[in-house]
Each structure stands twice: as C-alpha cells, then as structure tokens.
C-alpha cells in the first residue's frame, strides 16, 4: 500500500482516467524511473532472444525466417511454441490457432491502455498496437499511471528500446552465431521477468481494490493455469481479478495515483513547458 496523495482530477486530454496529471518535472522523474525499470527487461529480452535464435536455427529456420518471426509476430512464448511445433511437423493451421490462443491476453493489455491513447490518431494507435507485449504493457501502464496520462515517449521506450530492439538483435545473433550459448537461467535471467512483473504490480497497488484484484488474479491465474494452460490462466486472472477488485469498496484510496515513484529522489530540474509527447 502506498501513501495518500491529494485527490486527483481528470485534467482533460486523452486519459479517461480519474488521475492527477503530472507536472513536467514529475513526467521527467517518471521517465527516469521507466528507463531504470527497463534495464532488467533489456537483459531478459537479450538473453532469451539469443536462446530463441539458437532454437530456431536448430529447427532449421533460416536467419530471414527467424527474424521475420521476431519482427512480425514479436511474441516470445508463441515463437518458442512455433519452433517446437514446426519441428514436430504440426500443421500451419494448428500453429496459427495456438498463436492466437497464446496471445489472446493482449486484448486485456490493449483495453487497459486504450483510454489513455484514445485521442491519438488511429494510424499511430495501429502502430503502437503491434509493439504491445507483456513488457511494454507493464512498463508503460505503470508510467502512464504515475503521470496520469499517456506519454508516448514512455511507450516507445518501453516497447522499442527495452523489448523490440534487444529481442530482435539477440534473435539475429542467436541464429547467425549459433554454437554454444550459455543457458540464461544460469545467470538468473529467467527470474527477471516474473520479478519485474511482480514489482510493477506492487507499484500499481494503490488501494484495496488493486490489492484484491492483484491477489485474486494471481490465485485464479495459477489455478486455471494448472488445470488447463498458463495462457488460459493469465486470461482468467486478468479478467476475473478486476471483477473481484470491484466488489471491494473503493475507500479513500480510490483516487490515489501510483505513488511508488520516489519523487524526492528522482526529481529533475523543472521544465518550463509541459511535455505533451
């Protein structure tokens, strides 16, 4: 739980959220926080991108085919599954249907970000959508909630710099270099993703509703994941957790913005004009 902040107002603009809109100084501080938070994600994307490239090479994918997967599909779990299924001789239809199933959770990410991006041009939103991943969502929703509105700089950084570029460069390196790549789990890189997701979730817990949504979502997600499939569990937790959270009275915490940002430690020098990027 985080400290109380003054009641928030919807300061106009895109975000259909009842949140405080940050000052330029706060936006800069939140961006710095975003950059630091993304460093672990870069390491993870790079490590597992290498493994993916190596696995695809082992399955007989050419460098062009491997990179096409990472650029066009840009979804790690589905790409790893596709390598296994292509190697196993599955039909393409089966691979495509599995991909749709594994990536269905993006509907929730997109819906949660949509109110923030509603006033952006549709072609721009169409591009933003292609870059939406677990990591981009996690980093950008935390940033948007801190600043109370969409900040495209933050989205580009989360989606491209911390995820798209390292994932694609590492994919290419893995498929071209091949050979012996150390298992990323030897260096603990496999726990960075769940640790980052959990840490970002903690940052978003600003009241009882969020806490109930997070805990119940996790419990439901694990239960459904064990009973059926982790991808279904993530959808179930993401759908049902918020419903249970809504059953909790909002209380005084309902309009507190994400306050885990320690402005006292991260404030930049004030900027003369609001940044509307």
């Amino acid at each position: 739980m985080r400290q109380d902040l003054p009641p928030l107002t919807n300061a106009g603009g895109a975000a259909a959220t009842d949140q405080h809109e940050a000052t330029p100084t706060e936006v800069n501080a939140s961006r710095r926080r975003l950059v630091l938070d993304g460093l672990g994600i870069i390491a993870t994307a790079g490590g597992f991108g290498l493994v993916y490239g190596l696995a695809a090479r082992g399955a007989g994918f050419s460098p062009l085919e491997t990179s096409a997967m990472s650029v066009i599909v840009f979804a790690g779990a589905a790409q790893f599954a596709a390598v296994g299924y292509v190697l196993g001789g599955f039909s393409w239809l089966g691979v495509v249907l599995l991909t749709a199933f594994l990536n269905a959770r993006h509907v929730l990410y997109s819906a949660a970000l949509a109110p923030y991006l509603a006033d952006r041009p549709r072609p721009l939103r169409a591009v933003l959508a292609h870059l939406l991943t677990d990591e981009a969502f996690a980093l950008s929703i935390a940033h948007f909630r801190r600043v109370g509105r969409a900040d495209l700089w933050g989205y580009w950084w989360a989606a491209i710099v911390t995820t798209f570029i390292p994932w694609n460069l590492a994919t290419l390196a893995g498929v071209l270099i091949g050979g012996q790549i150390p298992d990323p789990s030897r260096f603990g890189l496999d726990v960075i993703f769940p640790a980052a997701m959990a840490g970002l979730a903690v940052g978003l817990v600003t009241g009882r509703r969020e806490l109930v949504a997070a805990i119940s979502g996790a419990v439901i997600g694990v239960a459904v994941g064990l009973a059926w499939d982790p991808a279904a569990g993530i959808m179930a937790g993401g759908l049902l957790g918020p419903l249970l959270g809504l059953l909790v009275p909002a209380g005084r915490g309902a309009h507190r913005r994400e306050a885990s940002i320690d402005l006292a430690a991260t404030l930049d020098a004030p900027s003369p004009e609001p940044d509307r990027s």
Binding site: V96, H130, A195, P242
Partner: protein
C-alpha cells in the same frame, strides 16, 4: 536461404494483431461508463500479478502439460517484491532476484 516460414510468420502475426489492436482502435473507448473504466484500471495490477505468479508456479513440458513448481524462483520474486515495497526500486529488486537464483543454482541449492 529458405523463406517458406516467412508466410507462417505473417499468418501468426495476423492471428496476434487483432488482440493487440482491437481495443485500442475501437471507437468510444474513452466514453466508457465509470464502472467499466474502474474495471480497466484494475486490469494492470491483476494481470501483472497473474503473469508473475503463473511464471514461477506453473511450468509446462514440451506438450504444454502444466505442473506445479516450487523453486528458488519463489524466493527471488518475493525478495524483489519486498525491495520494491520498501522503495528500493525495481532495478535493485530484479538484480537481487537474479543474483539469488544464480547463486542458488551455482551452489547446487536449486
């Protein structure tokens, strides 16, 4: 160089893109009722917590059969959560989590 699977990549991308784009592109998302907006506000914490929990508790084999997993990952993620809650920052939390997992594995404890 083989290019056959580029078409598969396009098909997989086409299967993924609607779930990424439809909610963002549908008109009227900014005019949702307050209750629906409140729901969407809760999606972030719920799904991030779900991702974290499912990643460390549920493992799948090559046939995607799920099973329950207990391991050093639990301690590593818990340490990250505690550090973030104590305002040490996510970077510190993830580095400590990775170190815990790496050291435990290197020493044969996990």
């Amino acid at each position: 160089m083989s290019t056959e699977l580029v078409l598969l990549a396009v098909l997989m991308g086409a299967a993924t893109y609607p779930s990424r784009a439809l909610p963002m592109l549908v008109p009227g998302i900014d005019r949702l009722p307050a209750r629906a907006r409140s729901y969407l506000e809760l999606v972030g914490p719920a799904i991030l917590a779900t991702l974290a929990a499912a990643s460390i508790v549920v493992v799948i084999d090559a046939e995607r059969n799920p099973s329950f997993h207990v391991g050093i990952e639990w301690l590593a993620v818990a340490a990250c959560v505690v550090l973030v809650a104590a305002r040490r920052g996510l970077l510190v939390g993830t580095v400590v989590a990775a170190l815990i997992a790496a050291l435990a594995r290197a020493s044969g404890l996990a």
